[in-house]
Amino acid sequence: MRMSLLHLALQNLRMRKFRTLGVVLAIAIASAALFSSIMLMKSMSSSIELGMAQLGADIMVVPGDAEPEGAILLGGAPEWGYFSLRYAEAISSLEDVAGVAPLAFVETTEGCCFRSGVYIVGFDREKDFLIKPWVEKQVGELRAFDAVAGAGYDWLPGSEVRLYGVSFTIVAKIPATGVASFDRGVFIPLDRLYWLSKRSREAGIAGMPLEQGEVSALMVRLEPDANPVSVARAIEFQFPELRAVVAKKALSNVKRQMQVMLQSLLALSALTWLTAVILVSVILSMSVNERRREFGILRALGATKRFIFGQVVVEAYLLATLGSVLGMLAGYTFLALFQDVIEGYLRMPYLLPNELYVALISIATIDVALILATIASVYPAYRSAELEPYDAIRSGE
């Protein structure tokens, strides 16, 4: 059946483009705001859930002048300088310390490598407890020019990457951690990284500043019942030039900050919804007024009050669904496209949630849009349905 309530509604939307555009835009903006706030919060909280602590590090030791805690644990670039590997020995001899894993980060620059902005992460073959388990599970042992990739890349095992003039083969992948330098890292053994650094300087390739025996961070794992806070204090007492960040404590601080941010984001999107409800109500009321004659004619030809009511509401639902979908697409594109910019701005990395979450958030957003459409359209719909048919027909004459 070609002619129907839906056909009539669609024709009306098609023929009155200006109004359609206005309503769709209002709903799209509100949907984009809601959708991306929830996505962002979900993304950031999954980063936190997955963070360093998840990888098994209780404390992260960095130079004393390093950045705030949240940024250290989750943050993008480790921008602080290197310090001596010798601290590792001293710290591992402290009480309650079960292991110390040194890590050195080198960010690739323009022209040196297959891509810039990638972290080459050196890890200690013996002492490491963060990366090694994944390597052992997937390939057993790394050969001379093997490397492990972070979760942020689509590389297949066997692909080659060029780092400072040397070709490495990706043989394994570690799962998503939510830590940017990990997720966008290429992991190679620490001694190989020192070798690469020295070679790059000697060959005069874009200089790598890392010297033999230097590291960026020491990841500390404690005995099961140890108190991380007192161990961290002990480290800072003994080495005032270092900073010991307790993973759990730092995370709960970050979570608190996120809570505040979540609230303001939600308040903001509530505001956009309120604006949208008002705007859409006004536009619908205006349009329904314009269409009084049309409703009168439909009534004369046999349309019931219910049909007229349905006509207005169905149109609002179509607009809401369309606006919502467009808004979410825009929001998703924005989050995916400007991931770097947003991470830089928030000083926090994020992992876009998996498909199931995206689907759930989308359904929730569409539901909110439909509720908005209901609120905005019920009164105009009722008024249109209750018009005396002939009064409606002669209006505007």
Binding site: R2, M3, S4, L8, M15, I297, G302, T304, P389, Y390
Partner: protein, 225 residues
């Protein structure tokens, strides 16, 4: 003969800003099946209001409208809508096409509102358009037609659901003589061949003279001429 339309002291009073306008005053009209009646009268005398109460579009202040013996203003909205859809064909004084639908879809509206559009409806729409010389405009939107063409489409549409009663409110108001003749021929044809009962409001006394019975509306009252 059986009585199709009967009104009993039908009255409509409009309240506009404190003052009362008695548009129709106690009209009792009887119409037999198959009659073709013309109604003349000055503008403002209440012709349109009377027609629209008979057709179920304006609720009377007092009085009753009986169609085939049934009091239409006692019906539920569903019943009354169905009655308008099945039994009545309206031709309005004002342009009455839906601007967002093509001529063809406008023609199919009465069928669509009664349930389902079928092949026979498409055929009838085309046949009626042909009678008024408009078959080539089926795909056009109302804004692409002249005023006279729009008017004729509305006339054709009134016959879509094979109504028993046609309520025609100055259907030839702004038509040229040729189109006026086409419309008049269609009305006469439907009246003679299909027994459709017709109430025709017109200013044109020549047209009125072509109907069997002419009534005059004067300040809300109806008189035989």
């Amino acid at each position: 003969m059986n009585r199709v339309i009967a009104t009993e002291r039908l009255t409509k009073i409009y309240n506009t800003g404190g003052s009362e306008i008695k548009a129709v005053r106690g009209v009792s009209l009887r119409v037999e099946k198959g009659e073709f009646i013309s109604i003349v009268g000055h503008s403002g005398s209440g012709k349109t209001t009377l027609l629209s109460m008979i057709g179920g579009l304006t609720r009377p202040t007092y009085g009753r409208v009986l169609i085939d013996g049934v009091d239409i203003w006692a019906m539920s909205d569903e019943e009354l809508s169905r009655f308008r859809n099945r039994k009545i064909g309206f031709m309005f004084q004002f342009s009455s096409l839906i601007s967002t639908l093509t001529v063809r879809d406008n023609m199919l509206l009465p069928a669509a509102l009664s349930g389902k559009v079928e092949q026979q409806h498409e055929e009838r729409a085309l046949e009626l358009l042909e009678r008024l010389g408009l078959e080539h405009r089926a795909g056009a939107y109302p804004a692409q037609l002249s005023g006279g063409e729009q008017r004729r489409v509305a006339v054709a549409r009134a016959f879509m659901n094979r109504p028993e009663i046609i309520l025609a409110d100055e259907p030839t108001g702004d038509l040229d003589e040729e189109s006026e003749e086409q419309v008049m021929e269609l009305l006469t044809h439907m009246n003679r061949e299909e027994g459709v009962t017709i109430l025709l409001v017109t200013h044109n006394l020549e047209l009125a003279a072509r109907t069997r019975r002419t009534l005059r509306m004067r300040r809300g009252r109806l008189e035989e001429r």
